[in-house]
């Protein structure tokens, strides 16, 4: 068990690199979600979120 823990620790990424990867993935995911919420023209999405988009004043809908 100790060996497994030691091996796992040696594989762990440095803090700064881990933060960079995690924050990059979060930004990418947030970007996708925001695009689908506010900008996608796919009809089922657009029709569902139509009123929401119009209610935000600066989001182009048409």
């Amino acid at each position: 068990m100790e060996k497994v823990v030691a091996t796992w620790k040696s594989l762990a990424l440095p803090d700064s690199l881990s933060f960079l990867i995690k924050s990059g993935m979060l930004l990418l995911l947030s970007g996708f979600i925001l695009y689908y919420l506010l900008g996608a023209t796919y009809p089922p999405l657009h029709d569902t979120l139509h009123d929401f988009r119009h209610s935000l004043a600066i989001v182009p809908c048409h």
């Binding site: 947030s30 119009h54 209610s55 935000l56 600066i58």
Partner: protein, 172 residues
């Protein structure tokens, strides 16, 4: 003449030209809206616009035709409206009869911004008066409120994600 005096003179001429009641020698065109423009919000309620057309003697023009052209606000530099397809495009173009110096119509303004209303009134005898109005429609306050809430939610989400990823060690 010093440059500052020239500049002041230019600004005086510029603003006095903007404030002139009519662009044309044959009379004047005034406008009233119901409700007042500062109370109007996009897609909220139809606005009744009344043009008051006076001849060169200051009396109401008895008969004639008013040619109306309404152009939507130009696109903003940074932020779009919710209906960018119509920004800067002509929305209305019509001829209205002038009866006892008045021509009126109702219109539901679709987006915020400064609309350009071009009016050309032609009397029966053929004399024309032209004027351009700038109509400013303000954004619905509730929409700005929702936008602020949305921006705040994104901000809070960003802070929470930052704290989660750094385990609270980076002083966030």
């Amino acid at each position: 003449m010093p440059l500052i005096v020239r500049l002041a003179l230019f600004l005086c001429l510029f603003f006095s030209a903007r404030a002139a009641p009519a662009q044309g020698a044959g009379g004047e065109i005034g406008m009233q809206t119901f409700p007042l423009l500062k109370q109007v919000r996009p897609l909220a309620e139809p606005v009744r616009t009344v043009l008051i057309i006076l001849d060169s003697n200051g009396r109401a023009l008895k008969k004639g035709t008013a040619h109306i052209r309404l152009v939507a606000p130009a696109p903003g530099r940074f932020f779009s409206t919710d209906f960018p397809v119509i920004e800067g495009t002509p929305l209305l173009e019509m001829d209205l009869p002038i009866l006892q110096g008045r021509a009126a119509w109702e219109y539901l303004f679709p987006i915020r911004g400064v609309y350009r209303l071009e009016v050309r009134a032609v009397a029966e005898e053929g004399t024309g008066i032209e004027r351009v109005f700038d109509l400013e429609i303000r954004e619905n306050r509730m929409r700005l409120f929702y936008l602020a809430i949305f921006a705040l939610a994104l901000f809070v989400f960003g802070i929470m994600a930052g704290r989660l990823f750094t385990g609270g060690k980076r002083g966030l």
